[in-house]
C-alpha cells in the first residue's frame, strides 16, 4: 500500500479497510514493540500487549476524537496495556507468594533480557544490571523512565502518552533515577 498521510489513514481505517490496517500495523509495530519490550522485559507479554493494542485500535478507531496525533493515541493504548500487564504480574506474584500451590511460579524475566548483540560484553553486563534495576521500579516510574531515557521520547510526547503534566513526568523520571541509583549502588561497588 502506498504511503498514506494520517488523515487518509484514519479515514480508511474507519471505513474498515484491511490494507490500511496492515499499513498501520507495519508502520507502528517495531516502534511499539521496542517501547513495550523495554517496559515489560518479556517477549511473550510484549507480543500479547501489542496484539491487544492493535485489536483495540481496530475496534475503537471510530471513537478516536483526534485530540492527539494517531501515533500518540496508539502509544497511549500500548502503554495502558503494558501497565495492565505489569499490574497483573504483580497481583500474580502476590497470590503466588500467599498460595504457591495455586499458581506455578512465573519464569524469571532475566531469561528474557532482550539485549542485542551489537554492544560490547562489558557494556552488556552493565545494561543487564540497569534493566534488572529498572524492572524493580514502581510501574509508573518504570514507564516514564523507559519512554524518556530508553526509548528516547521527548518530555512533551511522554506527557501526551501518559496523559500527565510535565512536572508529574519530570518528578516520575527523577524519582526513577534516584531509585535506580540506590538499586545500582551494590553493582557500582563491584
Amino acid at each position: 500500500m502506498e504511503t498514506l498521510n494520517e488523515q487518509e489513514l484514519i479515514l480508511k481505517l474507519r471505513q474498515g479497510s484491511e490494507p490500511a490496517f496492515a499499513f498501520l500495523v507495519n508502520t507502528y509495530k517495531n516502534r511499539l514493540y521496542s517501547a513495550v519490550l523495554n517496559i515489560l522485559q518479556d517477549k511473550d507479554d510484549t507480543e500479547d500487549a501489542l496484539q491487544e493494542t492493535f485489536i483495540q485500535v481496530h475496534e475503537s478507531i471510530a471513537m478516536f476524537r483526534e485530540d492527539a496525533t494517531l501515533s500518540t493515541w496508539i502509544y497511549r493504548i500500548a502503554v495502558r496495556k503494558a501497565l495492565e500487564k505489569l499490574r497483573r504480574r504483580k497481583t500474580r506474584q502476590r497470590i503466588q507468594s500467599i498460595i504457591p500451590w495455586w499458581m506455578p511460579k512465573e519464569k524469571s524475566s532475566d531469561a528474557n533480557l532482550h539485549l542485542n548483540e551489537g554492544i560490547e560484553v562489558e557494556q552488556k553486563e552493565q545494561a543487564e544490571a540497569l534493566f534488572k534495576a529498572i524492572n524493580l521500579l514502581p510501574a509508573k516510574q518504570k514507564i516514564a523512565f523507559t519512554l524518556i531515557q530508553v526509548h528516547g521520547m521527548k518530555y512533551e510526547e511522554a506527557c501526551d502518552v501518559m496523559q500527565m503534566g510535565v512536572k508529574a513526568i519530570e518528578s516520575l523520571n527523577s524519582r526513577a533515577k534516584e531509585n535506580l541509583r540506590k538499586k545500582l549502588a551494590v553493582y557500582y561497588k563491584k
Binding site: K29, N30, S34, I55, N116, G118, Q123, R181
Partner: protein, 100 residues
C-alpha cells in the same frame, strides 16, 4: 560520592543509546489477524448463549432452587410437627373407650 553515583548512572543510561531497536518478528501481522478472527468468533456468540452467561444463569437458578427448597423444608418440618401432635391427639380420641 553522590556526584559519582550520578555520573555512573548517566554512563549506564548512555549505554542504552547503543542498543539497536528490537523489532517484532515478520509473522506478527499473521498472528494478529488470527487472534482477531478468534476474538470476533467469540464475540459472535448470541448474548445468552455465551458460556459465562449460561454458567452464571445456571448458578442463579440453583441458588434460587436451594433457597426455595430450604424454605419448603422449614415449613414442612413445622407442619409435620403440628400434624404429628394433631394426629396423636386424634388417634388418642379414636382409641379412648367411651364410658357409659
Amino acid at each position: 560520592m553522590q556526584k559519582n553515583d550520578h555520573q555512573l548512572l548517566e554512563d549506564y543510561i548512555k549505554i542504552l543509546a547503543n542498543l539497536n531497536e528490537v523489532e517484532a518478528d515478520d509473522y506478527f501481522y499473521t498472528r494478529l489477524k488470527a487472534n482477531m478472527e478468534r476474538t470476533s468468533e467469540k464475540s459472535g456468540w448470541v448474548f445468552f448463549l455465551k458460556p459465562s452467561v449460561m454458567i452464571g444463569s445456571l448458578c442463579l437458578v440453583l441458588l434460587v432452587n436451594g433457597i426455595f427448597l430450604k424454605e419448603k423444608l422449614k415449613t414442612t418440618n413445622n407442619n409435620s410437627n403440628t400434624t404429628t401432635i394433631q394426629a396423636f391427639a386424634f388417634s388418642y380420641d379414636q382409641y379412648t373407650i367411651p364410658s357409659y
